[in-house]
Amino acid sequence: MKDTPEMFWTGLSPDEARKALVNKDKSMRDKTMTLKEAVDTFIHDGDNVGIGGFVDIRQPVAITHEMIRHGFKDLTLSFQSAGMAPDYLGAAMMIDPDHFSIKRLELAYWAHEAFGLAPMFRYLTERGLVEVEDWSNANMSSRFKAGAIGLPFIPTRGPIAGDVARSNRTKIIDCPFTHRPIALLPASNPDVAIIHVNAADKYGNCIIRGSECTCPEISMASAHTIVTCEQLLSHETITSLPKDIAIPFLGVDAVIEVPYGAYPGACRRSYYYSKEHIADLHRRTSVMCKTGSKDELQAYFDEYIFGVDDFSGFLDKIGVAELLKLKKLEAANCERLV
């Protein structure tokens, strides 16, 4: 019915994704480790990285900081709508592409809603430094879902007409039941998922408050999953309400307790956004976009990422007052005692 781009798989093909799971140790075992160990073990150059959260909620910020300290080449980033996580990774590429580079983006949206555009996205795309494949939010969410449930594709009634479906690997067929056109979306099975959640046990059973975004789907779709959590709880506490578990231990490979691990983004029940911190990073990035000078952006990275050993070092620089302020704002959002 139309020319579709040539088919290829990024991350794992459906058959590779199945094989990866068959051969995997699925046992209920202690998966706690340091974030450095997790990033070093489960992320590799060239990987397709599935990013959890949505815009600036529950973005896996601490994991991106550790990835930047580590350095990676030629990553593919897959997400529906994201802000802070690709911001950090994109800015890292802007200041030193030899240390950290993104090859490709499969996405629906990279910006910050009320907090404005992502200058990193404009910088990388308008200079042609990354490949882009545009999808919609429902497209990307469905692609992760297809990957999570072992299907090679999933149908959608979504943006079947227009240029989105022409920018990507969507295939449009005649529905064999209704004989109307329907779009088929190829599954996404990333090599590794990076996810921040509210609580987890050491086996990787995760509780998410507020929107689950597409985190369960990305975790179950990926060959490996790194989870940071606000709170590490006992298995007995986590399973006392089994229906609260959004991601079962089977979908998780590494668990790290990182309070405020999504800061300066928000995490329901724990903290609201730091609009100011986000704006500061964007301002420094915009300077580089406009003047070509990376000094201010480099200074941010030197202070907050390269200048600390881990995310607790970053939080020390942010300071207690800021963190308590955001905690208080979030308690009001939730109308609850903390």
Binding site: F54, R122, R157, S167
Partner: protein, 264 residues
């Protein structure tokens, strides 16, 4: 109700957007002015309006303040359902969303929208002149909400004869049953609200048609700032300016810190 003499272009859009919404209907609310318009509708003629947000919240009473994001924690408190993005879009695909608000950087005469790129598609797709954020959920809402309400600031380049990229499908080429034939659901663009007036899409041609002018505008002034030929309703009327109370609600109750509604 006293008419306000002190309102901004954003505020008249918000008031017009609110008025399009019927009470007791489900509205899929995008970020920004649609949130303010939906809250204003809830506080005025549509107290039982049901907002749905794409991160997954259904029907929150929004008593804890204006969300800054469609995934804001404020959308989950008192919600009647919270799963994730798939659930919100699946419900919409099923037919649960009566209205959806969408915006874009460009719109054409059939209500198709661009929020992806300025430049040459497909040849310049990998190196656009200006890269916009991308579809997000806009193209999904455009495909599957029953009726969509478009919000686009009015200027000649934004109201364009030919989009540089078609992100969110409207009435496509305007031909009969074009959306149905393409495989989509929903009846497509229902209203467009710009900074100059309110439009619908004529039943046969699906072309943009001026219904109401905002204060200070005429058919001619609006056509002059539109990059294609507009249709005009038989009886183009003047849209009443916001009332003092509407402006007060926006400034004092809904968005007191100016998250989306700028004072200037």
């Amino acid at each position: 109700m006293t008419v306000s003499k002190d309102y901004t272009a954003q505020e008249i859009i918000i008031v017009a957007g609110a008025k399009v919404l019927e009470d007791k209907r489900v509205v899929f609310v995008g970020t920004g002015l649609p949130m303010v318009a939906s809250l204003l509708a809830k506080m005025t003629h549509a107290p039982n309006l049901i907002p749905v947000f794409e991160a997954g919240a259904v029907g929150p009473h929004l008593t804890v303040g204006l969300p800054v994001s469609v995934g804001d924690s404020k959308t989950f408190t008192s919600a009647s359902y919270v799963k994730g993005l798939n659930s919100a879009f699946e419900m919409t695909q099923r037919g649960f969303a009566d209205y959806g608000f969408i915006g874009g950087a460009e719109v054409d005469m059939y209500g198709n929208l661009n929020s992806t790129m300025i430049g040459d598609f497909p040849d310049g797709y990998q190196k656009p002149k200006i890269r916009l954020p991308g579809s997000g959920g806009a193209s999904d809402m455009a495909a599957s909400c029953e009726k969509t309400i478009l919000i686009v600031p009015h200027d000649k380049r934004k109201f364009s004869a030919k989009l540089q990229y078609l992100t969110s499908p409207g009435h496509l080429d305007g031909s009969k049953d074009a959306r149905w034939k393409a495989g989509m659901q929903g009846s497509g663009p229902y209203r467009l609200i710009s900074t100059k007036g309110i439009f619908d899409f004529e039943e046969e041609s699906h072309r943009m048609r001026l219904l109401q002018t905002f204060p200070g505008e005429t058919k001619e002034s609006i056509q002059a700032e539109t990059g294609f030929e507009l249709l005009f309703a038989d009886n183009v009327t003047a849209f009443a300016p916001p009332t003092v109370e509407e402006v007060r609600l926006i400034r004092e109750e809904i968005d007191p810190t100016g998250i989306f509604v700028k004072r200037a």
